[in-house]
Symmetry: D3
Subunit: 253 residues, 6 copies
């Protein structure tokens, strides 16, 4: 295996999570994964969207965007085009759904946690970095909310992180693809997993290609290895708050 | 296992594919899966989208829509709202990507195959039924195109079909969820597979829930079983054209 | 007179109305007029649009759409374009207005009947087929509503159907134009009439041409003949419900 | 018959056409019909829309708008809403289609005549006043074009004007409805006619009402009477140019 | 100084304000400044926008538009494009803000004054003419409102008018630029001033150029001279109502 | 004078300009002014917008956006709303126009410099910080372009920076307003100036207030003082490139 940045097939790029990156949001981080940089913020609003009203529970909604020049070539702003691309919608639905799986929506009242993931520099893996960083921002926002005594316990049931795995045209599996690897990959898979090792989302796409069950299993193993390392970084960053995660048991739906 | 329509956990709903359903399109089917009914058409246009121009190859683009009253409650038309929902975009991207993995894009010139999947009645599994039906419509359109001597061989490299699997709140896995099962599921997974048993897409979502590797494996087995049955139905419908599938080897990218 | 399908100038194409075509809507038909096929559904919603609120009466709103490949050449979806064409708006306003003229809006409370006309195959006359089919779907939905004892009598004051007539470049009038006749016509006229022979809508357009009062009169006669035949078909399809039409007298406005 | 402004049933409101109302357009008029005032301009652009390219003929496109406070209650601007209403689209399609029936499109090259009808004050009959005024503006623009020797003869084949007729709830027919009459009418009909007395458009709408053939005939007679008077006013305004109308014979399509 | 229309550098074009130009609005004027003509109307609506609700005060909102053929070349309608240009938004924000500075928003209840400025002919200075004309329309609407005894005093604290000044490429300052002067100017400045000589808005733009403090001062002097003349015209037009302006003291915010 | 952060009336907040902040753009800075932080990038594209084609010169276009949580309260994304606000359009037009006044558009061929200003944290003065930062990013992008020998000299004719000044309700003038000062100000003025002390833009707005010529002069003096300090910071950041500014004389238009 010969990765252009010298990594081995099962090696993550360096992951750094800077907390309290911005002044105004309840929770905010700058997550850096190799050359990919994403600002993730969590904002708590005192109401829920119409379809959730009157249910006595909250909601988590995510939005994702890239600066026009986060990429090698400048992209036209979606605000200027007047509509979101399918890719953006897919990603923000994925981020929101993933976070909702580890937060007890009954645990913070009829409120919405708005998660904003703004990519300021992109080099592959922006959606997985967004999920990993957004989890920390959400925990911090809820911790902050608990410290203000608006809720009694932290309604976070487990850790959550995401990573990409893939397979190149020589059918070699690898962990955490950078942009050039992703562009050349035969298979691209995003894995979202809980701290206790269960899948929340699995999205594996053959790009005009396909993959066998054995190849799937090898990719899932690589992903699990990488995710264990990412959970360690989240734990370091969250400090004592780690002890409050998983203490508020989410009721059965 | 007690499914409300009496099926066993590994049992498909009846699948019927009516071919030549409409007069104008090059290929068209009405696919019925239980109570779900989708009109799938394939139209060949003599040009490609801007990003594909001058590459000497074709493109497959898919669009998906539901009649407002395909569902229990009437939905507002996306044309009236003036924009596509994230769900619609996600589905049409999935359909297009899946079909491109089994069609040799070099094999039909700088043309676009437009795939239109219009759900006239919905009872769960509309995206997987769309893929299964659209594959047949695309093969028929290309066969028709070959019969007119516009191409020399059928540029279809393999069969393609899709099915859903899921897991309910009692952690019981099952095949081919109808709407009420889907609405109540803890995990919802769509599997798109080739006739030779390789994955093209795997999308497994825990709905505010998660699943283990063992559960994943059991769901994948159920899916593979169902897909083998669906491939049989596609073969019956396609008749002699079956023999031309996989004969035009898709070159390595 | 030499029509390409062998019809005489005053001959309708075959009209077939399949009822209960879909599972979910309160009323639904598939109407076939020659090669033109339209799914018409009627859905009753428990509220009215803002401009009708508090008036103690209901509303009928119609929407019209074509599948992209209902036509010889594929059309771009209006949902993809993000707006309705002028033609679509004109047609759906016509359908709604026509139906409101034979339904007593005071007779079903502050509710909206949504009429959806989706053309799955087009060969001319889609708007008139939509009106003819939608009338049956609306009657069935209201009958169903009465059977559930939500209303006491059927608030339908008369039959309603529509047909096209036209004049070709040789100034020959004819009934029920198919697409190729319509495209070549000098004059195109749509007539919407009640079962008692009164006009509800008359829209006669010279396509870069004009017509005299005598020609108008001849076209109206052809239209009336065709409409009498269509009313017979509606009567057969509606069975005993026919006896309830016109029994609920619409009050003077 | 007792009309609130003292007119008899077959009496027009005063019609005044001020020519050369604006400085920039090739042709412009302010048409006043009672209290209704519309600025109609005709602008000649040196290209045609995409669907007309390469056919060696021109096009006429019309746009219609109202000032927000043309009416009793202020209307929201369509530019602010970001889309045209169905009513606006219907009217501008009607204006364009009507004008195209009396102008020889082969007679002014691959150019577009843009017709803009801007209602500055509305009191019923804005669409018919627009057609009557726009005809004069178009003739003036083409005359101006001929005077600049860009075309050899005036490609106008006949006069064109429009008027409304209607029937009130007492089934009394009347000519040229003002706003309050229109709002209360059972039947509202717009007639577009050529100077030689042939119909170009006939749009008769029962507003939750219907009308018999005899009533139709009476309304058409009223309309024809009014239109003859309007043609006289157009003739006075156009002066000597009148002699050039109908001299350029439009070829058969 | 050699202006193409023979004016001296400090000379305004003729300004005419026709009042009660339209029938329906509470206040309306046609303002003519040289060849520039703008219809300004003021409409009072019995509610305020959401962000002003419950504050016990009113709002003034302005909209600005041009007829497509107000200009030498026809412009595409913003309603047809489906969005307002940046230029339009800038102008309507400027008009609204300017008017709000001389009207006591506490003085007419929770109502909105809608100001519509529709340019029917453009020859430079449309935004300043709009402000000058709109002020008169607003005073007339409020006077009318007071006459109906809906308010006790006229909540207008001062006069308001606007004018443009500029500097050409030879660094010559001049007052009230017409279109050709504006298009060639190095600096373009709009001054909005109160009757007591205080600035409300000052917007001075170097068009790929810049200007010194001395040049700024000379332009401001020219502007003040022109504005004094415009205030005289407003006074003549408003008659006795002039005496009510400035009597209702606006409280400190 | 008692400013809440202890500054004197003529004191700027600390200004820091970090260069080469992002990896991909030709020029990029993070500018910090007190608590306001803006990422400014400059990207050079090898074509110009349609209205500039074939003129042998380039263009500078600016876009401005805020992260949803740059502010105390979360704002809805303009991409989600599907349109830009008037405020955003006004700001991006101002930034582009200002930069064009100090760059020789003939000096870099038919290319567009895209300037993107993304506010990641807002505390007043985001538009002036954007201009000050964008100037540096543009110089760096052009320097980079010259180093690659695509242009021979740096087509920058002068320095450019911007600052806000204002006046509070006690009629006290002050320099560089933070958000709370801006929200409470009676007058808000933005000054864009060249390094040689000439005005490029002056926008002074009385917020439901007005200001005299004397107050204007005092505000302009404050602004000039602040701008001299900002030019020093730009000079430090640009290093030797400073010597190339103003060497390429912009020709007269």
């Amino acid at each position: 295996m010969n990765r252009h940045d010298g990594r081995s097939a099962d090696e993550l790029r360096p992951v750094i999570i800077d907390t309290d990156f911005l002044k105004h949001p309840e929770g905010s981080v700058l997550i850096t994964v190799g050359e990919t940089k994403v600002i993730c913020t969590a904002s708590i609003e005192d109401r829920v969207p119409p379809f959730m009203r009157g249910k006595g529970k909250g909601w988590i909604a995510a939005e994702y965007s890239m600066l026009p020049r986060a990429t090698e070539q400048r992209n036209i702003r979606e605000a200027a085009k007047g509509k979101l691309s399918g890719r953006t919608m897919e990603i923000q639905r994925l981020i929101g759904r993933s976070l909702r799986s580890v937060v007890n929506l009954e645990g913070f009242g009829e409120r919405t946690i708005w998660v904003d993931c703004d990519v300021i520099q992109a080099d592959g893996g922006t959606r997985t970095a967004s999920i990993t960083g957004a989890f920390v921002a959400v925990v911090m926002a809820l911790k902050n909310f608990k410290d203000k005594q608006k809720i009694k316990s932290l309604p976070v049931t487990d850790f959550l992180a995401a990573v990409s795995v893939g397979m190149d045209l020589e059918e070699q599996e690898m962990l955490d693809l950078c942009y050039s690897e992703d562009a050349a990959a035969a298979v691209d898979m995003n894995i979202v997993m809980t701290g206790t090792g269960k899948f929340v989302e699995l999205q594996g796409t053959g790009e005009e290609a396909s993959y066998s069950k054995e190849q799937l299993d090898r990719m899932l193993s690589l992903g699990e290895k990488g995710l264990q390392e990412i959970f360690m970084i989240q734990r370091q960053v969250l400090g004592d708050t780690v002890n409050e995660i998983g203490k508020d048991d989410k009721e059965e739906k």
